[in-house]
């Protein structure tokens, strides 16, 4: 067994705008989105499309027409019949899991260049038939004579036609039967996050995204998507540049009425979007004459109780900091996925809580305060949305871009994952 490990670089990446789910399915399926983001990214590379060793795509809500969306996307992007491709699913971590898998494969020397992405079209989440309706349909289908069929059909009940919204089921933890928004309510309570702080955080997210859009910081990252009806989607359309505390304060809690603190305004938005990054070894970088955005130097996954899944970033990013002896001042930029404002603020509070850090994380004192100026500098899922399988990919890509733009040396991208997981990735500037 060899102990030699290859250096791994994040070469380039691009994503579609994140498109707010409005009425009915949006114009793109997950693979459509992956194609829209992938085409311009591949077109601006100096190497041939068939130069990849592997395609990995994170996608949670795979639609029936696109089983193994990674492979469908690889073929539609013209990567060739010989391109191995697989799809990963670790819920909200899928888009980062694809990068991490690419990172580990390349680090260990079996691969040189991998296209790793995430794609999600939440607006296409299906209406699901009730279990009782499915059983009835099965009985009708299995009937062996017209009489038997007639009898089976008699079992039809009106409630069979009341579909279950698949997305709602998907955003509910099956073990605890808590909706994701409820897990944020739990954290807000435990860490004393009030409604005003959550709203203030959300407002800032919108303002930061609006500024990033206006000042061109997303130009190389967000590629316009073109629908068949001629509509062009060229920016994250959930942004509200004029978001203010008054209008946010008016919103009613959506998950725990009437006393809860989590509203549609301080939660991430339901959106469609896809993102890709090119992960390459030093050898591939040299061979193709590439200029990487950043080097991937570490990653970590962690798990905890599903009802407080929102602390996933704390559990997964801390071991990285501990391995390298980093304090808050050593990390120039953070991308911490904004599932809920209360959840982000709870993570910050946990790291700043001496008892929590001692008992749970094994520190002697509090890890310390993460400066808001280093955290989600260009907005996040609250302003631009959270297409679950894509978000992990986006935060790593955006961290790399933001580090380059700001001349930062080191950054961590991290996310909470429905079901009680967390993922984190360490990027460093290329020397």
């Amino acid at each position: 067994m060899t102990h030699f490990k290859q250096r791994v670089f994040l070469v380039d990446g691009a994503r579609t705008p994140f498109l707010k789910a409005r009425q009915g399915p949006g114009p793109f399926t997950p693979v459509d989105l992956a194609v829209q983001a992938g085409r311009p990214l591949l077109s601006r590379q100096p190497f041939d499309r068939t130069a990849f060793d592997l395609v990995i795509l994170g996608c949670v809500n795979v639609i029936a027409d696109e089983m193994n969306p990674a492979r469908v996307a690889a073929l539609r992007l013209g990567l060739g019949a010989q391109m191995v491709a697989f799809t990963m699913q670790i819920n909200c971590g899928s888009g980062m899991q694809s990068i991490d898998t690419a990172y580990r494969y390349i680090r260990d020397g079996s691969h040189q260049m991998i296209l790793a992405g995430g794609a999600e079209a939440l607006s296409h989440a299906p209406l699901v038939l009730r279990q009782s309706a499915v059983e009835w349909f099965g009985r009708v289908n299995a009937s062996k004579s017209p009489l038997e069929m007639l009898r089976a059909m008699g079992g039809l009940r009106p409630e069979f036609f009341k579909p279950v919204i698949g997305l709602e089921r998907g955003l509910t933890d099956p073990i605890t039967e808590l909706n994701m928004g409820q897990t944020a309510e739990v954290l807000a309570h435990r860490f004393g996050i009030d409604r005003e702080s959550a709203d203030a955080y959300a407002m800032e997210s919108h303002h930061r995204l609006a500024a990033a859009q206006k000042e061109g910081r997303l130009t190389d990252e967000v590629m316009p998507a073109f629908a068949r009806d001629g509509t062009v989607y060229d920016h994250d359309d959930g942004v509200r540049p004029d978001s203010d505390m008054q209008s946010l304060a008016k919103l009613k809690p959506v998950f725990e009425k009437p006393h809860g603190k989590v509203t549609a305004g301080n939660s991430s938005q339901i959106t469609d979007g896809a993102s890709w990054v090119i992960v390459a070894s030093e050898r591939a970088v040299d061979a193709h004459g590439l200029t990487p955005l950043a080097e991937i130097t570490d990653s970590e996954w962690a798990a905890l109780d599903p009802e407080i899944m929102g602390l996933g970033p704390v559990l997964s990013a801390t071991p990285i900091a501990q391995r390298h002896g980093f304090g808050p001042e050593d990390i120039d930029l953070w991308e911490l996925n904004e599932a809920f404002a209360a959840q982000v603020l709870s993570c910050i509070a946990a790291w700043n809580d001496a008892e929590f850090c001692r008992e749970v994380l094994g520190y002697d004192a509090a890890f310390g305060r993460i400066d808001r100026d280093r955290l989600n500098v260009d907005g996040g899922a609250i302003s631009l949305g959270h297409p679950v399988g894509t978000s992990g990919n986006r935060i790593v890509l955006h961290l790399a871009n933001a580090m380059k733009q700001r001349g930062a040396k080191r950054g961590i991208a991290t996310e909470c994952i429905g079901g009680g997981l967390g993922g984190a990735m360490l990027l460093e500037a290329v020397e």
Binding site: S43, R76, G78, A81, D229, G230
Partner: protein, 690 residues
């Protein structure tokens, strides 16, 4: 993109029964069950045509089969490309007057013998079965299609109708009105349609051909019974009524005066539609008569002109990726057509909504071309709107279709310099600018040329390929091949104001506007042109091209040509200034808001009017020939026919000139010059033109 494993496995092999040895143009063999397989495999040719030899050899095999009756006969093609493309068209010219009828009768006898063979006969069709190929299939008891098979009688496009039994065998097999429609329009029935019409009994994949054939023989072939409608049309009165409808509809598209063939077919069917034998004799006589008509001769000439342009387009284009600059009407359509033909395409434009409209337009073209949902998806995947111009660095060919201003183009070319691949070609799609000045701005003048497409790109076959002074021959060869690869016909030209098509067409449109200024209604003008045989009158054509484009071309010709041109009408300038640009804005000279305006062609216009429109085109064609803009007169005729639909039954402007007589034309031009001005004065080229 085919992977290496499938590439190794190769194409699906055709089921040819027992290993069949070649005997002349046929491969023949009997399998263990006593079934005789006859596969047409024409010697020294990649496609099958039905020649005299092919039929004579088939007769020998029929005789052998009669003497030693097989269990069944399976007839198919051994060529992977398809069944059979019909008769060899060049042989029509060789058929002498009486000889034609005699040769046809011999062919009929062979097919009759096949039809009457005492054992079941099954025809398996893959690819196209056209004309005589289709007729061979019709003489069998049953037909099996492999997906992709198509059937059609394109004879009408050559001024003919089917001549080997198609006129009575197809109406006997399927709904007679559907059969007549196929023969009158020349439209092809693809696999699904052929199945629903009843041309084929079943459709099976190639891998199941042997099983399907044996099952059919085992279970017996059901004899076809005519339907109620077919029986009704056995009565003369019913046929007369139906024929009247067919005539009036045919007259609209193909007036009898110009296109006698479809009308001859209707008459034949009306008279003999209920009698196999008299219909057969009538078909032979009528076909032999049509062969002699000028209309058919000229239409066959058009066919050979097309072949000539196609020959220019052979070879490798070395173009996998095309980048198109400018997503306006032309750029968007060029991009869509190239993507449909499998090219990787990037399309750049400064305006995002223009790029969006280009995607919508591409989808519409896919729809119009009946592409399947999966094919449409692949086309749209291959066509990437590219606002940042990433494709420029990857393209083998950059087509610049930006706005028609020298300064704009020079600026674009300056930017291309450092970005294009060293061996990539830069082609400009322009209708009014001189190439030589732009060539100086191009990154590499030897790899720079003109590529002039016509609107609407998806429907017009011709592309003018224009060399500028420095263009090297490799670039021209590759551009011609590129045209072929995207299903277009290239005509190779040197730079000249308006090239060929616009040089010839502009005086026609400007003269029409002068006539309007003189008070002649536009409908009268357009109907005169339609009666001559133009597919569109000059006023409607100006609207269709776009009055802004037309004005620009007219101004450029006025400036750059020595020959006098009709003055540009104020009306045209005013319409352009007001933004009424023709079809694309819904209003020009005509109102297009309700679709294409209908112009009545009844009544006669003064012959002076027609000559004032048509003769300037002949004069300009002679000028273009004198200036060596095209290789020869045929190229000029081909360009006009395939770009503008110039009265094909007249064989093109220069061929028409020869038919009408050089002397008569020049005399008439002189008369017109005296009456209307020097713009009609005969060109110097008439001295050398014969």
């Amino acid at each position: 993109m085919t992977g290496h494993v499938l590439k190794h496995l190769g194409e699906t092999k055709l089921e040819l029964g027992p290993l069949a040895g070649r005997e002349g143009n046929w491969r023949v063999g009997r399998d263990a069950t006593g079934v005789l397989w006859l596969a047409l495999d024409k010697v020294d040719s990649s496609i099958n045509t039905i020649t005299g030899d092919v039929l004579r050899e088939l007769e020998t095999h029929m005789a052998a089969a009669e003497a030693n009756l097989p269990r069944a006969v399976v007839l198919r093609s051994a060529k992977s490309g398809g069944f059979a493309a019909g008769a060899d068209i060049t042989s029509f010219d060789r058929m002498s007057d009486e000889g034609a009828a005699e040769l046809l009768a011999q062919g009929h006898a062979v097919l009759d013998r096949l039809e009457k063979l005492a054992c079941p006969t099954v025809c398996v069709v893959h690819g196209a079965a056209l004309g005589a190929g289709f007729e061979l299939a019709l003489a069998c008891d049953a037909r099996i299609a492999v997906p992709g098979a198509s059937f059609g009688f394109p004879e009408v496009k050559l001024g003919l109708h089917p001549g080997l039994g198609g006129t009575f065998r197809l109406p006997a097999l399927i709904d007679p009105t559907e059969a007549m429609t196929m023969m009158l329009t020349g439209k092809t029935a693809h696999t699904d349609r052929a199945l629903s019409l009843g041309i084929v009994g079943e459709v099976v994949e190639e891998r199941h051909v042997a099983a399907a054939v044996h099952a059919l023989i085992e279970n017996g072939i059901e004899r076809h019974e005519p339907g109620l409608k077919a029986r009704a049309l056995g009565f003369e009165q019913a046929r007369t009524m139906m024929a009247r409808q067919m005539r009036s509809r045919t007259e609209e598209k193909a007036p009898a005066e110009h296109y006698p063939a479809p009308h001859a077919l209707i008459e034949l069917w009306e008279e003999h539609g209920n009698d196999h034998d008299t219909m057969q004799r009538g078909e032979i006589t009528s076909f032999a008569n049509l062969l002699k008509t000028p209309s058919s001769k000229n239409l066959r000439r058009v066919f050979s002109l097309r072949q000539k342009l196609k020959d220019t387009a052979r070879g490798e284009d070395g173009v996998e990726h095309v980048h198109v600059i400018g997503a306006g009407a032309m750029g968007a359509d060029i991009a869509a057509v190239a993507a449909i033909k499998g090219k990787t395409v990037t399309l750049s434009d400064l305006a995002m909504d223009t790029l969006g409209r280009a995607v919508k337009q591409a989808e519409r073209i896919c729809h119009d071309k009946h592409l399947s949902p999966a094919e449409t998806r692949d086309v749209l995947d291959r066509l990437m709107p590219d606002p940042r111009g990433y494709g420029i660095a990857r393209a083998d060919l950059v087509i610049e279709a930006a706005s028609e201003q020298v300064e704009v183009k020079e600026k674009i070319y300056a930017d291309l310099g450092g970005r294009m691949k060293p061996d990539a070609i830069l082609a400009i799609n322009t209708s009014s600018l001189a190439l030589d000045r732009l060539a100086k701005a191009a990154p590499n003048p030897s790899q720079f040329a003109g590529l002039h497409f016509f609107n609407p790109v998806a429907r017009i076959d011709l592309v003018e390929v224009i060399r500028s002074r420095g263009t090297n021959s490799d670039t021209l060869t590759r551009l011609a091949a590129f045209c072929g690869a995207i299903g277009k016909l290239p005509v190779m030209l040197s730079d000249y104001p308006g090239f060929v098509v616009n040089r010839i067409l502009t005086p026609y449109m400007l003269e029409a506007m002068m006539l309007m200024d003189e008070g002649v209604p536009k409908e009268v003008i357009d109907s005169a042109a339609l009666r001559f045989g133009m597919p569109m009158g000059p006023v409607a054509l100006a609207d269709q091209v776009g009055l802004d484009v037309g004005l620009k071309v007219a101004e450029s010709l006025h400036e750059r040509l020595e020959a006098p041109m009709p003055a540009i009408s104020n009306d045209l300038r005013e319409k352009v200034a007001a933004g009424n640009l023709g079809r694309k804005t819904g209003r020009g000279f005509y109102d297009w808001s309700e679709g294409t305006p209908q112009v009545q062609t009844d009544g006669r216009a003064a012959p002076d009017l027609t000559d004032r429109l048509i003769l300037p085109m002949l004069n300009a064609a002679v000028e273009v020939l004198r200036q060596d803009v095209a290789v020869d007169a045929d190229a000029i005729d081909a360009a006009m026919i395939f770009a503008t639909g110039w009265a094909p039954f007249r064989g093109g402007p220069l061929h028409y000139t020869r038919t009408r007589g050089t002397k008569a034309v020049t005399e008439r031009l002189r008369e017109l010059a005296e009456a209307h001005g020097p713009r009609f004065a005969p060109d110097d080229g008439w001295h050398g033109f014969s």
